[in-house]
Symmetry: C2
Subunit: 261 residues, 2 copies
Amino acid sequence: MLQFGKIAIIGAGNVSYTLCKLLKNKGIEPFYVLVRDSEKAKTMHEDLGVEVVSSYEKVLESDLTIIAVKDDVISEVATHLVDYKGLVVHTSGTKSSELLNKSKRYGVFYPLQTMSKKREISFDEIPLLIYANSSDDVESLSRFAKQFSNKVVLCDDDQRKAIHLAAVYVSNFTNVMLGIGDKLLKKNGIALDVMRPLVMEMMQKSFEISPEKALTGPARRGDFATIGEHEKMLSDNPDELAIYMILTDYIIENYQKNEKL
Amino acid sequence: MLQFGKIAIIGAGNVSYTLCKLLKNKGIEPFYVLVRDSEKAKTMHEDLGVEVVSSYEKVLESDLTIIAVKDDVISEVATHLVDYKGLVVHTSGTKSSELLNKSKRYGVFYPLQTMSKKREISFDEIPLLIYANSSDDVESLSRFAKQFSNKVVLCDDDQRKAIHLAAVYVSNFTNVMLGIGDKLLKKNGIALDVMRPLVMEMMQKSFEISPEKALTGPARRGDFATIGEHEKMLSDNPDELAIYMILTDYIIENYQKNEKL
């Protein structure tokens, strides 16, 4: 089978919500969403106009089931799909596909993006990392995914876990850096927004010429006078100072200081 | 005086280069660039078609001098401008304006952006942080700056230093996070580019709804199973592991875990 007929989505979180909107927008149907919590089910139905069900009956009739629930609930959901004939995938960046191996056909459908109910995102460029335990299902899942994205990537569990770990640095930890910047600016009555052009240009530059080549700043040029002044300015912020010091040391140790900046 | 007649720029680095291109593009002239190194002078003249001089004679005749040299050379350059009648400003994010106080009229013209000779950047949205030691010169400098940017911000030394420190976090340190991501992905044969949509969306989201609200990930949701797994995966990378741990602790301690994500 190269085309999935009926599709089931399980969950009421940001990923489920976003996938439902996506299927709806692409006119892919029929699909059902299984939501246990009756209030969330109601909201989802009202917000998106999708068919929400509360039992596994319709899920078991589907050809593809996408489990879009919290990581630690995946195993429990999987117990309901032991006799399932279709392909079951989860959407976790970090959990093994083997969590689903009690079903005959299983895999992963992991959109590498941060999602929230309120934000519209364009799916075209979002990498969809897919995996399935048979080549037929890899092909079907790939074809399914290509309806939404130009970047469908076949990825085994280890690669996906490496990507998820890297994502913690490039997404969560970069965010923390903005949070610290925000905190330091607020103390001086300045809004974070002043940083926006700098941040966006630095990110684009890093992707275009590589982070290493794009890096500037006092640590990169070995400007210890400025580093010393910064550390003094951070004396009332011990946590932020510790982060400043470990990252400054990291730059000094890992990047060639003598390179022309 | 509300309009500067002749303008001099001192330096041959990225900032000088970018400012020269800008003045040239805007048709603002006459302006001279003082470059000591004859090879750099030649390149600059050939690349940009600007008038490059090698002595302070023409600089002293100008109405505005922009010192765009490395931080630790500013003081030395300033000694040549003791009898200067015009307004002299430097372009440093971190150095005090008082470095120039041997001249009668002095200030700062700091473009908050990362610049390189090869990259074209649009100046319109770049914050130009300005300061001058008289209200007349603040007005003139502001008028001058507004020719290039919609975001001209009057900023004293302390505010500018706070912005520069914050910029280390939001620009240099975010860059380091991309560098670590790159390193971890390369080990698994994956190119950093797969992260681009995630990073750009996360940055935009952080500016739009605040970094704190935009933060997701295992530390934010207190997912210690995933954190433990990540730490295990990093056992061959002690430096990156130390950074993972300090930032994970920072998130756990500083962000409300019980907030709905």
